[in-house]
Every structure is written in structure tokens, then in C-alpha cells.
Symmetry: C2
């Protein structure tokens, strides 16, 4: 059944009906998310984009996924890259999240905030936590592509203040936001 | 390149190397997420599970994705269901999120909290916001499956207190968590 739908609707024809774009966006406006900045270089220079669509799907093997919209200028490069760096952004590095979400600028103009890993990928050096991985699969979904990444290497720290994006507003988590046990 | 990796690594052989499961889990412990409860019935009774891996990938057509682990008892049913209900859980309905995350219980024992939609799917009637959709594609990733859903119908409200899961702790967003503009 699923395969059949895949062939008929995603592979060879448009999905019709369902929620309007406005209804759908309204629904997800109330779904908070962590924030990531993804960087890559497919051989033609570094690209970066901010995503609120990163999650882990499997710990063994370690695999994460994220989605990239056809509307982002960085998408063609990321879709062609063999490897990417996924920065998990904390509240202290909100400026990097904003940088990756701003259109029409050179996101790598400030050469003091980024470098290249020994393996060649561009990355933002100040970010406390990132994962470097290999793109292993892609799934087309409407006007976006879901990318699956095998995590190869990471920089990890435990002391970051978590950053959340919700309804076009940036939030930080802390003792103030914890729901007390009943 | 990606297709080749797909065939060699996901389709026909194990991914090797990369982060250990503990390293990978540690990295994502610092990545906050919104909370959803997914319900379905493939014809053998209702199932529910709590997921922190739901995101929208496309507004037109309206498509969301989530991942389900092979370890969850509800996964085989959800993977075989033609349609699902994705409840976007607010802080007031944390009990439903906990219900969907508790193993070894009958999640539908309390018949006062759920019903069936006219189209047949089980859903939790008190939850403020949910999306009913058709499963249109699946992507295997390690020990999980990423499910793509075409959103057909939704109940929407604007006044929910956003719920976030982070590092094994439940948080709520509000004025207290907003990061002030610089």
C-alpha cells in the first residue's frame, strides 16, 4: 500500500487535497524545535543553513535526519555533498543560527568564526557541539528533501544552554522552564 | 554517490564505524524537541506512541515526517497503517505524552480520554491540536523507520502552552523562556 502510494503520488504525480499551506504552517507554529546549523562544501565553496528539523533516528548505527527546503539557496549544495557538519546550536550561539537563517548575505564573510575540519568541511569553530557525518540516503517529500546522515565524528560538551525555536521566537531552557513533577 | 551508498550500506550491509551509541545519545541529549503522540489502527486495535521526532518538511503539499524505533511495540502497527493521527502535545496534556511513553501498559485502558474519528483512527479527544494524515512514504534508517505523512485534516488551536523535551526533562515555554532581542 505504501509503496503503491509512493509510486502514484510522490514519484509520478502531485498530492492533492489535504490541509492548505496556511493551515499546515499554523499547526506547526505550535510545535517547538531545537535549532541546528548545517554546513557543507560540495567543491564550490562553503554553504550554511539553519534548520529546526534535525532529529536522531537510530543510535546503533548512529543516524540522524534533517530536511532541507527547495527554497533555500544552500539546498542544492547540501544535497550533493558526501559529508556535512550538523551544529547543535545553544542559546549562547544564537548569532550563528540567525546567520544561517538570513538570506542574501555571505554567511562566511567573517573568517574569524569558521574554519575547515581536517577532512575539509567548513564549520563554525565557536559552536559547542557538532556532528560530522556522511550522507547515506535521501527521501523526496513535497518541496523538500529529507537527508539521512551517518554520524562519524562529534564535538561534545555538556554545559550548553538549550535553544528552542517556537512560533517565530527564540527561547532558552533552564530551571525556569522545567515542569515540576506532580 | 548517495544512491550507491544507499545500496551498499543501508540496503545490503551494515554501516560501520562512526560514533558509539553512547556518544551519539549524548550529543542529542542536548537537542531539545517538541513532543507528539502518534496513534493508529491497522485493523487490530489502537496503538499510541510518544515521539520527539516530528517535523514539517513541506507546506505545499503539506507533509510531515517522524521516526519510529524498531524497539517500540507500536511500530509494526504504525508502519502498516494507511493513516495516522499526530497529536502535537502542549504542556497541559503532558499526561498523554507520558502515557504514550510508558511501556507495558494498555494505553487505551481509560476509555474516557480517547475516541475514534469518523474516518476510524483512534485519537485522544482532549488534546488541543492534532493532524490526521496518510502515510505516503517510508525510509529505513538504522534501527528506525522515517515515515512521511500527507496532512489531510487537522484540529487547530492557538492557545496551547508549548511542551519541550530535553535531556530527560519536560519543559514549558512562555514569556519566562523568551530570549530578549539584543
Amino acid at each position: 500500500m505504501t509503496e503503491q502510494l509512493h509510486v502514484e503520488q510522490i514519484g509520478h504525480g502531485p498530492l492533492t487535497g489535504g490541509l492548505s499551506p496556511d493551515e499546515f504552517k499554523l499547526a506547526f507554529r505550535n510545535h517547538p524545535a531545537g535549532v541546528a546549523v548545517i554546513t557543507a562544501d560540495a567543491g564550490e565553496g562553503p554553504v550554511a543553513l539553519t534548520a529546526t528539523s534535525v532529529f536522531s533516528v537510530s543510535a546503533e548505527p548512529p543516524i540522524l535526519v534533517f530536511s532541507i527546503s527547495d527554497q533555500s539557496s544552500s539546498t542544492p549544495t547540501i544535497a550533493r555533498s558526501a559529508t556535512v557538519v550538523v551544529h547543535l546550536i545553544d542559546a549562547e550561539h544564537l548569532d550563528i543560527a540567525k546567520l544561517g537563517a538570513t538570506s542574501g548575505i555571505d554567511r562566511f564573510a567573517d573568517t574569524s568564526i569558521w574554519a575547515r575540519l581536517p577532512t575539509g568541511e567548513p564549520y563554525f569553530t565557536g559552536v559547542k557541539q557538532w556532528i560530522r557525518g556522511e550522507v547515506i540516503d535521501q527521501l523526496r517529500a513535497g518541496t523538500s528533501t529529507v537527508i539521512a546522515v551517518h554520524a562519524l565524528e562529534a564535538k561534545l560538551t555538556g554545559d550548553a544552554v538549550p535553544l528552542v525555536y517556537h512560533s517565530r521566537t527564540w527561547h532558552q531552557l533552564g530551571d525556569h522552564s522545567v515542569i515540576p513533577a506532580p
